[in-house]
Amino acid sequence: MIAHSLFFYFFSFIAIISAIMVTASKNTVHSVFFLILDFISISCLFIMIGAEFLGMIMLIVYVGAVAVLFLFVVMMLNVAQQNSELIQKNNKYTHLPIGLIVSLIIFFELIIVIGGWKFKPDIISSNYISINSNITNTHSIGNVLYTDYIHLFQLSGIILLVAMIGAIVLTFKKRSGIKRQSYIEQISREKSTGVSLIDVESNKGVNIDD
């Protein structure tokens, strides 16, 4: 058990520290790296509680796709340089007091909540959550995802569709003045439309502007 709790504290410590560093670091690229570290340690935590499918999905989706995409965006926009210049210019932190007050209030509220909780593990009756230990995680997620939660699955699909439509509406520009390729036109070109034979008579010369 000691090894287990050691690992748990190790991963959760890294997760919290890297979450703080995401917001604290001045360089945007570093923020993204800390975000990746955060995701990895959270996926380790998932694996430790036996939710290996969620942990792996976390790695594949968040680290493999989302964070790397972030990294590309950040590098392409060259935000890192601009940000650091901005911070160097006005180094006043005028927003800091208000932000601190608000976050302190929320922090104390949460302290009160946890104080009221009094560490009662029996508060959540787990009658509603029945876990069948005979089948794998992946299997049990699949069992409910496509039956009881099919409507949520489909609606999430529509949300992604809306996001795609939105991105296209807000950024797509039809540029004029550029030549577009039309594959159908190119493939269906025939000898009769593409080539014209001109019979040039000899010894006549060329008449220009007759």
């Binding site: 508060i123 959540i124 009756s125 959550i129 409507h151 489909q154 949300i159 939105g166």
Partner: protein, 471 residues
Amino acid sequence: MENFNFILSEIFISISIMILLLVGVFKKNSSNLVYSLAIIVLVISLGLIFNSHSKDEIYFFKDSYKIDQLSIFMKIITIISGIFVLIASFNYIKSEKIFKIEYGILILCSILGMLVMISAYDLIVFYIGLELQSLALYVLAAFNRNNIKSSEAGLKYFVLSALSSGILLYGCSLIYGYSGTTNFDLIAKNILLTELGNVFGLVFILVGLAFKISAVPFHMWAPDVYEGSPTSVTLFFAIVPKVAALTVIIRFLYVPFVTLIDQWQVIIIFLSLASMIFGAIAAIGQKNLKRLIAYSSIGHMGYALAGLAVGTNSGIQNSIIYICIYLIMNLGIFCCLFTLKRNDKFYDNVEDLSGLSKNHPLISFSFLILLFSLAGIPPLAGFFAKFYIFISVIEESMYFLAIVGLLSSVISAFYYLRIIKIIYFDEATDKFDQVNDLGLKITLCLSTIIILLYFIYPSALIDLVTNINII
């Protein structure tokens, strides 16, 4: 097997979103076609809802989706207002050059999200519906991307709304942690008064919802977003999402949190008082009509919340009546705004209305009726809406709420009357263009007539609403 008759309208809308997208992609210059098809889709789904009307309460998907009188009525209201918004804003969208195929499709997506929200009986379903609705609204707010104000509105709405969604989700996770379930009925059963965490979850959820209906003190986004977005989108913002958000608030307050009534009643009373006072005072200095309507809608949300604060069935019913009448009045006001067009430019400042009555007596008359009704002057519909709210507030002897409501309604009458004075007694300016759009004319006439003649047969609306019993 579950009876899918009752959710046919949602299924139909989601399938037609995809079909309309395909039509828009593969048929060239089909903006007109897609737009009118979107209206037809809404009309058909309205028919589907009427077709599956039932007196019973029906649950779907392991009790996470509920069809009852409240959800059926609110869905009908949502779809009808969606249809009229699309009909009325057709010409505006065309002349502002934002007429793309995606416009109608995004409106459909947003309405689909609202329908899901209205029927949601589970935290997850509610959140998915909310996100679907607001994601489409972000894009719509920034739809006129050549206009810097519209882009600003979209960005502002997106950032603030994402923040409020985060707060709301945090509240949902607290509730889930303390009650061990996401289903509304089971939450009501498991929730314990002694646990402080439940109250915190409730507060966070209410903050998120108050943001969505722009109640004070979570109203900051509304004036900027209303002003920046294209007027057609502002019309949509001002009326349709409020119905869904109000339904969700009713559900949250009276199903999962009904045992916490002492806790939330204070919050709702505060939100209501603050919105009524702020909406009345802040609108006085406004020069832009769209901003003014934003502040006035904040005030009106305060009255609607006052009905919810009392904790009785009649209070809920009167809130629903209030929101219906509010929809009709705002629809009419925006139709008037759509007519203020001169040389392909739309005007939306208060001074532009100066002397409107000399050139356009009919439009000015509609303006007069609608503004009087917004101010709550008898015998127009707006008066009755406020009257019902005050009755149910006084029945529960919450006199302070009623007094503040009356006073702020008197204050707000000032800026409505000022507009009327500008229309009728100021120097006339140039004429506006003649309105040729039949849909716009019909919508304006209908809303004015309903507001004007509501007092003849008020039980038409009341009878519909009395079926809705939550408690």
